[in-house]
């Protein structure tokens, strides 16, 4: 296999492996070569685990040849946001504070993926401790958006967004407490799922916000997202927030038939509540039309405003972040990057009553979302109201903008929300659609997202990162 091997999806690769037409070693080697050639342009990886990946791939090869095929992730490469612990491999949170931190134990999600036979390519950059925005004063530079390397990848699973879009890995795990899987998925044009809170274990993921933290898959297609979710979902008694619920067959639900599904279009988010780019608005409206043409019943619904969700999410997160980082804020403040300090330090002033009032507001907001879900199966919004901005145009204070409330609505609500690409702007930047569902109805959001994806051509277009000139230039600059 040559050519577009780096753009194989999990499902495609698994089929080829199953038929003996592709070996896990061949796939892994090709991706490691591509990381070597392309990542100097993107800075998406903090650590590449090439030797370990090849060892795992050889083991997968042997097992599959011996007839012990574990399933659709056997021999499939993946990468992890560097806040997810890996035994014997440094896990840094992109912070000077954790620069030499080497966990002794894999995170629960890593154990699940490696049990399924997947092959770890490495650890992906993030905004420091999954907070803030792109920073140039951390031990590693910020990831670049493969669609335009001058632009922001989205916060905060930034390396994951860049690496999946650029074909450096077919899958990554990110973490999401206010949009940190969905936001980079949106700006990088891929699929990113924040699962229902409690569906996927957080054990071994560096905490950020106890109330909202989720681990979620980032992939090129919805089918791949469902395959990864299938492997990582499930009760974990070590995680006090883990739910003991029956796990459905997510890939089997992707039938393409969404006739009669009730879809609530939260039009007021992009029409009046949040200043929204015209191309983003048009993308969401076209997507609603496509879903209607597929037989879904689309009608307008109203949620509380994104500003309410943002205030609730922000206040809770700031207080919880302070609890996570209190010792380092008091004793190693200089070791945080400026962007992180800009958020953490004012957050440390959050009072107990502020936190409690925000938690009370959360219950009220959940109640109001639940009321809307009495009449619809899923909700539709833009994922982000803007196109990926230029990194040089981003201000520190942008982290306080309430426009993130489109994502935060479903972090506060706790249900599943997936971001999928819904087209491209005139200048070739991805547009995105967010589909949200009732808690533990992750199947519904994946089913609708998959039907939409199948009905549209957006998966055929990849970032223009791979001209020979760029790749050769990158090779030269890295010796």
């Amino acid at each position: 296999m040559t050519g577009e091997l780096h753009h194989l999806t999990i499902a495609e690769g698994a089929r080829l492996i199953g038929r003996g037409e592709l070996s896990p070693v061949e796939w892994t080697e090709r991706l490691l070569e591509r990381i070597d050639a392309v990542d100097p342009l993107l800075d998406s990886f903090i650590t590449v685990t090439g030797d370990q990946a090849l060892t795992q791939a050889r083991r997968a090869d042997e097992e599959i040849r011996e007839g012990n095929h574990r399933g659709p992730l056997h021999g499939v490469p993946f990468a992890l946001k560097d806040v997810i612990d890996t035994a014997g491999i440094r896990t840094t949170a992109a912070s000077k504070i954790c620069v030499d931190r080497v966990p002794v134990r894999d995170a629960a999600v890593v154990r699940r993926l490696t049990s399924a036979g997947a092959t770890l390519l490495g650890k992906l950059t993030t905004h420091e401790f999954a907070q803030g925005g792109p920073s140039f004063d951390l031990p590693w530079p910020p990831a670049r958006n493969p669609w335009d390397r001058r632009r922001f990848t989205g916060s905060t699973s930034s390396g994951a967004g860049a690496a999946v879009a650029a074909g450096l890995t077919p899958a990554a795990l990110g973490t999401d407490q206010g949009g940190s899987v969905r936001h980079p998925a949106a700006h990088c044009g891929l699929v990113g799922l924040k699962p229902t809170n409690g569906l996927v274990s957080r054990v071994g993921a560096i905490p950020n916000s106890y109330s909202f933290d989720c681990v979620g898959p980032m992939t090129w297609t919805v089918e791949d997202c469902a395959i990864v979710l299938q492997a990582i979902a499930g009760h974990d008694p070590e995680d006090p927030g883990s739910a003991d619920v029956t796990i459905p067959d997510y890939p089997a639900a992707l039938t393409g038939d969404v006739r009669g599904m009730k879809v609530g279009l939260v039009r007021h988010f992009h029409d009046s509540d949040v200043e929204t780019n015209a191309e983003v608005k048009a993308g969401v409206e076209r997507a609603a039309q496509v879903l209607g043409d597929l037989g879904a019943e689309v009608h307008d619904v109203r949620l509380p405003s994104p500003a309410e969700f943002a205030a609730c999410q922000w206040t809770i997160t700031c207080a919880e972040l302070n609890a996570v980082h209190e010792d380092n804020l008091r004793h190693r403040l200089e070791d945080f990057g400026e962007n992180t300090r800009y958020r953490l330090v004012p957050g440390a002033m959050t009072g107990a009553v502020d936190y409690i009032q925000a938690q009370r507001l959360r219950r009220d907001l959940i109640r109001r979302i639940d009321a809307v879900f009495e009449d619809v199966d899923v909700l539709l919004t833009a994922t982000v109201p803007v196109l990926a901005p230029l990194i040089e145009d981003m201000k520190l204070s942008s982290i306080f903008a309430s426009r993130g409330g489109m994502n935060m609505a479903f972090s506060v609500g706790g249900g599943p929300a997936v971001s999928v690409c819904c087209g491209f702007s005139e200048e070739g930047l991805p547009l995105s659609l967010q589909i949200a569902g009732r808690p533990f109805d992750d199947t519904a959001v994946l089913k609708l997202a998959h039907a939409y994806e199948q009905a549209t051509p957006w998966r055929d277009r990849r970032p223009p990162i791979e001209t020979n000139e760029q790749i050769e230039g990158a090779k030269v600059s890295h010796g």
């Binding site: 739910a243 029956t246 700031c318 004012p346 957050g347 009370r360 520190l396």
Partner: protein, 66 residues
């Protein structure tokens, strides 16, 4: 900086939080704090007193029965 909170009041908050800031860090906090305060101030304080915290999720009935 928003004049709602003075530098001396922010200094008191820093002390309460147990942090020591350099002058540059303190200046930056004074710039950032009004943004944070606006967020916190927009959390309503007029909720009925019996409204409890959102500490747990209510499971869908079909899951609760399993």
């Amino acid at each position: 900086m928003d004049d709602k909170v003075s530098r001396s009041e922010i200094a008191a908050l820093v002390k309460w939080a147990g942090m020591e800031l350099s002058e540059a860090q303190f200046d930056q906090l004074c710039e950032a704090y009004p943004h944070a305060q606006r967020m916190i101030d927009s959390v309503p304080r007029d909720q009925p007193r019996w409204d409890e915290l959102a500490n747990v999720f209510e499971f869908p009935p079909e899951d609760a029965e399993q």
